[in-house]
């Protein structure tokens, strides 16, 4: 688990950024072999200072046109529960730890994370249990996520507009 990528998508999630860059979390990550931690912080107010130590680097950025490259390079992705981030990560075939933002108005994001967790595709926790999860998690238990079928949607649409 050399490289860990943290992503909050287009929103802000300062609690996650604070939790994952805290000394106990960094210690937990390093004890699992993490040498590079990359934070995508979106619109967040909290912007941790980048670090370059011989065995550990912390990189921080707000937005990029595409996160595909960062996802590809990661050995573990830690993400907010946004559908885009979750699906992109799972499709890259990367182990995913979803961290729930309990401060969102209606906590509907829990639904997807819980379902993906129930189906064995992701690990999930909240900011206060992050360190504990990083210490105890077993990534080998995660099941691969089969791709969605947009072709079924195309067939349906062709049928209802009369294109068959």
């Amino acid at each position: 688990m050399k490289s860990v990528f943290v992503t909050v998508g287009t929103t802000s999630f300062d609690e996650l950024i604070a939790a994952v860059s805290s000394p106990p979390a960094v210690r937990a990550l390093r004890s699992r072999g993490c040498e590079q931690l990359v934070l995508q912080i979106g619109r967040g107010a909290l912007e941790p200072a980048p670090r370059r130590a011989p065995a550990f680097a912390l990189d921080v950025f707000r937005f990029k046109e595409s996160l595909a490259e960062d996802l590809r390079r990661a050995d573990l992705v830690i993400s907010h529960a946004g559908a885009g981030s979750c699906l992109e990560t799972l499709e890259e075939g990367k182990p995913l730890l979803v961290v729930i933002n309990e401060k969102l108005m209606d906590n509907h994001q829990l639904e997807l994370a819980k379902q993906l967790h129930r189906d064995g595709h992701v690990l999930y926790c909240n900011c206060s249990t992050l360190v504990e999860t990083l210490q105890s998690m077993d990534l080998s238990t995660l099941k691969p996520f089969p791709p969605g079928q947009p072709e079924k949607f195309a067939l349906f649409l062709d049928k209802v507009v009369g294109f068959e």
Partner: protein, 216 residues
């Protein structure tokens, strides 16, 4: 015993009136659901982050008959435009005469905004999206739940009521809705022509919805 003549003619008159009403209505309904000749212009309401990713996945398998594609997204949205442009760039490599447009409208509701102020900003968004929808006159509207899609669909319904253009509204609830509908979904369940959900629990709760499995 024969029925009295006035009663008979009264019944006949009502029958005739019913026929006069029902025939044009049935004709209208047939036209609404009937076959359409390609190409169809498609209005796509993109949203921030996940919504845009999902809607581009839905578009990924559509044939070149769905052209041009008019994208509308909220002006506070940072990432959608780049995602859409890169999607369309790839599409242009496959289909040579691929066409699309991009338009921004004010966002009708931020994630943490209260309901009362949401109503005011939604009204403002309708004022803004009506002329845009009028200009684009789409055959088909595809949306998947960002706040922006409610004012756009209301504008399209108004165009239909005014007899200017009747668009088919297809709503696809986001994959992140497993057990409950989004606010946009709760509203558009009643106003969309086709309402698609991606988890079986929602199909059970909302019988009018269509379940095709996971499509993004």
């Amino acid at each position: 015993m024969e029925p009295p003549l006035p009663l008979l003619s009264g019944t006949a008159a009502i029958l005739l009136l019913l026929l006069l009403l029902l025939v044009p209505l049935a004709f209208l309904a047939r036209r609404r659901r009937g076959r359409r000749a390609p190409p169809l212009s498609l209005l796509v309401v993109a949203g921030s982050g996940g919504h845009t990713t999902e809607i581009l996945r839905l578009l990924s398998c559509l044939s070149e008959s769905y052209s041009p594609r008019h994208y509308i997204f909220a002006d506070s949205d940072k990432m959608s435009e780049a995602k859409i442009r890169s999607f369309e760039q790839k599409r242009a490599e496959k289909f040579s005469n691929s066409q699309f447009t991009l338009d921004r409208i004010p966002r009708s509701r931020e994630v943490r905004q209260s309901w009362t102020s949401s109503v005011v900003t939604t009204l403002y968004s309708i004022l803004y999206s009506f002329p845009l929808t009028y200009k684009l006159k789409p055959d088909l509207i595809l949306c998947n739940g960002p706040g922006t899609c409610v004012p756009v669909c209301i504008s399209a319904l108004l165009l239909g009521l005014l007899g200017i253009k009747r668009a088919v509204i297809v709503y696809v609830e986001s994959i992140c809705r497993v057990e409950t509908l989004s606010l946009s979904g709760k509203i558009l369940y009643y106003f969309s022509d086709y309402f698609i959900v991606q988890w079986p629990a929602l199909k059970e709760k909302y019988p009018k919805s269509v379940y095709l499995g996971r499509i993004v």
